[in-house]
């Protein structure tokens, strides 16, 4: 193995990455997965962790580009150079670029992930049988809406399992239309277009308008390549047109006729002799996972190896069941050491204070139902420690387990008396141990109470949570001024003083809090233990991150 001059490497172990754009060759979820698996190749053997960011600047910025893509190291069309990456450091250092004139697959021909249909997103099975005929590509046969589909088992007639193939009639990617499908015909610069086009772009990507008039609405998206799309030639991305005429003869499939290099090609119109529109047919393509694992090796500080079977060997070769070569492992261990347990997270410096907005909300107080018995409640909205007492919230009311009167349960109390601005259902709440401020989260908004005065509602995006987070389901104080916020399978670390999420988040909950339910509806910290609640149960994790107890909220915590 080789490292770069001066043993360039990252000075931290929690590396971040961001995918800047996608290739039309595979659906985004397959590309996401290929990159995640490629990073896992390295995190499996080192103390490094890789966290995906969805905006801002990450250590490793990953993108696709063609020919001259802006870094002074142009790609070279199909084949030849596949990708490149820069050694660790600031700016373009650490970034990885992939040549989008290549045919990106999983290494064994078109990876066609279906959508809709009844196959739950399974990949197409090629060849498949339909009405006695074998198909090795998606087809519109049997449909009047011209949507390409495929079977996800070898025999559609027997299994009836199918899904729709990538098509601009179903969805687009990137652009500014949130994946909406193309609208045909559409007007662009006064011209009418019946299909995707590269017009107006210099990077050769095919795009379409997602309304009938781009000039007016400026709404667009990029067209996914169909599995019958040609590669290169003078019609990149256009589907083959079968049958087509070539030198007066009719062809129903790809051919190498007319070429000296034996490569299969097809026409993208019905008559090559008159239109000469063509491209290369789908081949096995290059495994995005394997090439990415190699490039990320560069982005971590490894140079090329001269061991032919090593991942860091410069030339590409497809491997079915990939595993890192000892040479690669020794190289990356030289830079970062071997895998150890989960790293203690070092505390970044607190951010300068950020201004907060005052807002007022009129509320009405709600009478409490004294007969409501906390022991009959299966699932509390949230549980949290305030002033040293455990509070249980449910539908505008709360109960308090007083630490002063040896655990006697008090309540119910009306929330609107003490925190009038907070809505009926609280997803989570926590008291900041430094300022004694109380944060309430409901849906995508939050309120901050200091005694009787409050700020909010404000959007959780103000804290740096991404717009995809629908609600914050848990909060766990971590040392002075840091709080972990949980949602779904992820968690973020909030710098309370700076009111901002720390860099390098989100992280996967189960990677750090192993053994707790990933669908916990509530998470809180109490007396040095972390509690993950799901329905009537809780999982208690001690400070050594061991789950040392699973029990009932009512019997064990409420002493019912």
């Amino acid at each position: 193995y080789q490292t770069f001059e001066g043993d360039l490497k990252w000075d931290h172990h929690d590396i971040t990455y961001r995918i800047l754009n996608y290739s039309p060759d595979m659906v985004a979820s397959l590309i996401d997965d290929a990159f995640a698996r490629a990073f896992k190749v390295w995190s499996d053997v080192t103390p490094l962790t890789f966290t995906r960011l969805f905006d801002g600047t990450a250590d490793i910025m990953v993108s696709f580009g063609k020919a001259d893509h802006g870094d002074g190291y142009p790609f070279d069309g199909k084949d030849g150079l596949l990708a490149h990456a820069f050694p660790p450091g600031e700016g373009i250092q650490g970034d990885a670029h992939f040549d989008d004139d290549e045919n990106w697959t999983l290494g064994k021909g078109p990876a066609v992930k279906t959508s809709f249909g009844n196959a739950e997103g399974a990949l197409c099975q090629f060849p498949f049988l339909f009405e006695g005929k074998q198909y090795s590509t998606c087809t519109t046969e049997g449909r009047s809406d011209n949507l390409p589909w495929c079977a996800t088992t070898a025999d559609y007639g027997r299994d009836k399992k199918f899904g729709f193939c990538p098509s601009e009639l179903l969805y687009t990617f990137d652009g500014n239309s949130d994946g909406k499908a193309c609208v045909f015909p559409f007007v662009f610069l006064g011209e009418t277009y019946e299909g995707c086009t590269t017009e107006g772009r210099s990077d050769g990507y095919r795009w379409c308008s997602t309304t009938d008039n781009f000039d007016q609405d400026k709404k667009y998206g990029f067209c996914p390549n169909r599995d019958t799309a040609v590669i290169g030639g003078n019609s990149e991305g256009e589907p083959c047109h079968f049958p087509f005429i070539f030198l007066g003869k009719k062809y129903d499939s790809c051919t190498s006729e007319g070429r000296g290099d034996g490569r299969l090609w097809c026409a993208t119109t019905s008559d090559f002799d008159t239109d000469t529109k063509w491209g290369f047919c789908q081949d096995r393509g290059y495994s995005l996972f394997l090439v990415a694992a190699h490039e990320f090796g560069h982005a971590l500080g490894l140079d090329h190896s001269n061991i032919r079977n090593a991942l860091m060997y410069p030339m590409y070769s497809y491997v079915e069941d990939f595993s890192l070569h000892q040479d690669d492992i020794e190289g990356i261990h030289y830079l970062y050491g071997s895998k150890t347990g989960p790293n203690p997270s070092d505390e970044p410096k607190p951010e300068p204070d950020t201004p907060t907005t005052e807002s007022t909300t009129t509320t009405t107080t709600h009478p409490v139902d004294p007969s409501q018995n906390a022991c009959q409640i299966d699932k509390f909205d949230t549980i949290t420690e305030i002033d040293g007492d455990l509070h249980f919230f449910k539908d505008r009311q709360y109960w308090r387990l007083s630490s002063k009167t040896d655990g006697k349960l008090e309540g119910p109390f009306s929330m609107s008396k003490r925190w009038p601005a907070v809505p009926a259902v609280v997803d989570t709440a926590f008291e900041d141990l430094v300022t004694r401020k109380i944060y309430f989260f409901s849906g995508t908004r939050f309120w901050v109470y200091t005694g009787q005065s409050f700020l909010g509602p404000r959007s959780i995006e103000k804290l740096g949570l991404s717009s995809t987070v629908e609600k914050v389901e848990g909060a766990m104080q971590r040392g002075k001024g840091k709080v972990l916020l949980f949602s779904g399978e992820n968690y973020w670390r909030l710098d309370v003083e700076g009111q901002q999420i720390d860099k390098g988040y989100p992280r996967l909950t189960d990677q750090v809090f192993g053994g707790v339910p990933l669908d916990a509806h509530d998470v809180f910290q109490f007396k040095g233990n972390s509690y993950f609640c799901r329905d009537r149960f809780y999982w208690r994790m001690n400070s050594k991150r061991q789950v040392d107890r699973v029990g009932y909220v009512t019997y064990d915590l409420l002493n019912c």
């Binding site: 030639g233 007319g258 560069h298 032919r308 030339m315």
Partner: protein
């Protein structure tokens, strides 16, 4: 019983990025692109490495027989898909 040999016609395909370089041109461009030749050192010193020596270095890096000549396996290796990061760093 073999199928009668078809007379194959060679056609010009518009937009065909045929990299119709000679093997020597291919070798020259490859050795420069991946740092084996015309290495610009940090000091600005330009070391002119002979093609044969550059070929030997490349053949060693690729685990090929080190002949210093543009043999078949070396040409094939130069045409194979690969990473764009140079093999020899200046």
């Amino acid at each position: 019983w073999c199928v009668p040999l078809k007379k194959s016609v060679s056609v010009t395909f518009p937009g065909d990025v045929l990299k119709n370089m000679t093997d020597t041109e291919l070798a020259e461009s490859y050795l420069k692109k991946f740092g084996y030749m015309n290495v610009q050192h940090r000091s600005g010193f330009q070391s002119m490495v002979s093609t044969s020596k550059a070929l030997m270095t490349m053949q060693r890096q690729m685990g090929l027989e080190e002949t210093g000549t543009l043999d078949k396996s070396t040409v094939a290796a130069m045409k194979a898909p690969r990473c764009g990061v140079p093999d020899v760093r200046s």
